[in-house]
Subunit: 391 residues, 2 copies
């Protein structure tokens, strides 16, 4: 009876959640697709190129067995508590929004970040220190998924505080990978569109595979550290079979992004406008921005659409592309700030003029579907900043 | 009269040392070559691709003025004390040999490394700590050249001790770059042929420019850290005009390489043979090895043939390529060890079978000319190891 119950439950879970779900009958007959089967019959021939396709088939998640790191009792709590997730950098900008999104879907999310906070389901942990991450696993047990967001962010921040950058973005990630090899959780590793360097064509994910090396020489330590991190994920998958999806967010903005001089142009302009501080706009730079709540829906969808080894650009709609000056104009309008705050200058040195990104892969695999356009998103961000800075 | 003396001396120095020396008459008429001139007239247009060519012309070194960081009195000491050089990692394997070579040419060389030693012209300095490097500059003043060899070496060492690897190879290098931006010395930065990943074709320096990114995905943290370091050198040159030559040594071996389990196959085999310890030989891996005294002559030649922004593979003659088993046989012969120490296995996983390197650029620019063939080099290395380990 118990077994029947387990099976029925499994069928439900498969139909509800699994990408390759084929039901309980199929379970006993299921075989990998032909192309994949070839690889598993001759493991020695698996090169990195093949490994990606091989990983597209994920039998463990299609089996009767419940996912690793969870027990049946946990499952029985039902849909409302369906995945146990660790979020490093969980008190940061994207981390805070992503915690909200994943929790609203009924997942159990433990956040960790650099400092002690007043938050629930939160634990202080600096990913530069292996012991502190290990302690999180000791206290909370294993996780189904780890969203690894903890990072030093931004090119100028990375140039100024390069010790912190490398220790966090690379050594911290390696700590997580070592724990992944041990605990076998699935990871979503956060990279950046900066890995494309000053590539001038359309940035599809394939650029970092097929293009010439010189096309994407990374231009600063932040970018180099993010590309180094991606290679480390690929190597760990190759050598230890760890399961990771990489994402490259592009100009994400919105609530919970506290201003520092190293932030992107949107929070910078808004903060300056709200505080009557002058700022500079470099002309001739085009960008697509993406409202964080949209981005986080896509990131949260990865749990239901996890394709091992894949990498995704995630950003706004290409039809939303605007000149940075136009964004500044929207912000001046939304904040009602004095237009004389702005100084206009010619193109900024060492900064890409136009970044044309392709997001079709995230649309296809992750149901990426940005809905909040820049005008609306900026309005909401201004409201949040007014609230946060008590203006 | 003093001026005439200075000019005469300068002519001599130019003729003796400078790549582009054109004598005292030419000095007053010299202009950059046409293509270069264009760049300096329109600095805004200098892209990374152009920067390399621009840097080939080095007017500072052709002028009447003596090189930066030295004074005339230093020069007057004559040829015997011609350059002031800092060598990080100067107590290591290549560092020790390179100090010997550069000193034998009359240069003033200060070595630094992790530990206190009994050596002269040596100062303890861990490049992970900015303060300790800065202290070297405070105590010894500026340098004409810095050979930056301090690094965690080897793929398995890097996987086991990745914290040390990233802190030394990347943060340490960045410290040096920051000091270079300030003190304007010329740097020779030591990378590795590991940056080519498991590229299967002939590894020319152009591979890391023109080839597809996937061709050279670096396979381990050591390799990634070395490629990250190269990009950091390029970026610093681009943004701050620092002057660096990168080198990629390949399977260098010889005296002063103390054995650890993370060393290459040559010292490993010799050490095991001398101590009667068994070892494993993986069949079907071909390598070219390069005797360290030959390599160091080439590295020392860079001072006289410094072409900004260049990068060089440095290794043995392609006609010396052998199977690792053949090297093992030579070592068994040279040490007289019992042949039963060796276990033969099939190809090692995650390790490139054949590495075909091209060294013609180093031959052309740096007068690279390996003379000690593997049979002779291994004999000398065995002698050194016998002496070092008191066998």
């Amino acid at each position: 009876m118990d077994h029947a119950y387990l099976v029925a439950d499994n069928v439900y879970l498969q139909l509800r959640y699994q990408r390759y779900a084929i039901g309980i009958i199929g379970h006993f007959f299921q075989r990998p697709p032909k192309r994949i089967r070839r690889f598993s019959q001759n493991k020695k021939d698996i090169s990195r190129k093949d490994a990606k396709n091989r990983n597209r088939f994920t039998p463990r998640r299609n089996s009767l067995w419940i996912p690793l790191g969870r027990n049946y009792a946990d499952y029985k709590k039902g849909e409302k508590d369906r995945m146990k997730i660790l979020m490093t950098g969980g008190a940061g900008f994207i981390g805070t929004n992503l915690c909200n999104e994943l929790r609203s879907r009924g997942n159990k999310v433990i956040a960790c970040d650099l400092y002690n906070t007043d938050r629930d389901d939160y634990i202080r942990c600096d990913v530069r220190n292996y012991r502190q991450i290990e302690k999180v696993f000791e206290e909370h047990g294993s996780f189904d998924y780890v969203y690894h967001l903890a990072a030093e962010y931004g090119r100028w921040n990375g140039e100024a505080y390069y010790e912190n950058l490398w220790q966090t973005n690379v050594i911290g990630l390696k700590h997580i990978l070592r724990l992944q090899e041990k605990h076998k959780f699935r990871m979503i590793s956060f990279s950046s569109a900066e890995v494309y360097g000053d590539y001038e064509g359309e940035m599809t994910e394939a650029v970092m595979v097929e293009n010439k090396i010189k096309d994407t020489y990374q231009m600063n330590d932040y970018a180099i550290s993010k590309w180094a991190g991606e290679l480390m994920c690929l190597n760990s998958a190759q050598m230890f079979g760890t399961e990771t999806v990489r994402v490259r967010p592009v100009n994400c903005y919105g609530p919970h992004e506290e201003y520092t001089p190293y932030r992107g142009f949107i929070p910078k302009f808004i903060f300056h406008c709200l505080h009557g501080k002058p700022y500079t706009v470099y002309k001739g730079h085009k960008r697509i921005i993406d409202y964080v709540e949209d981005t986080c829906k896509t990131f949260a969808n990865i749990v239901d659409n996890f394709i091992l080894g894949e990498v995704y650009n995630v950003g706004g709609r290409s039809e939303w592309e605007m000149d940075i000056k136009e964004y500044s104009d929207l912000i001046l309008e939304a904040t009602g700030a004095n237009k004389s705050l702005v100084t206009y200058r010619e193109a900024e040195p060492f900064t890409t003029k136009v970044k044309t990104m392709d997001f079709s892969k995230a649309v296809r695999d992750l149901k990426h579907n940005p809905e909040v356009d820049p005008r609306e998103g900026i309005k909401r961000t201004v409201e949040w900043m007014k609230w946060f800075y008590r203006i």
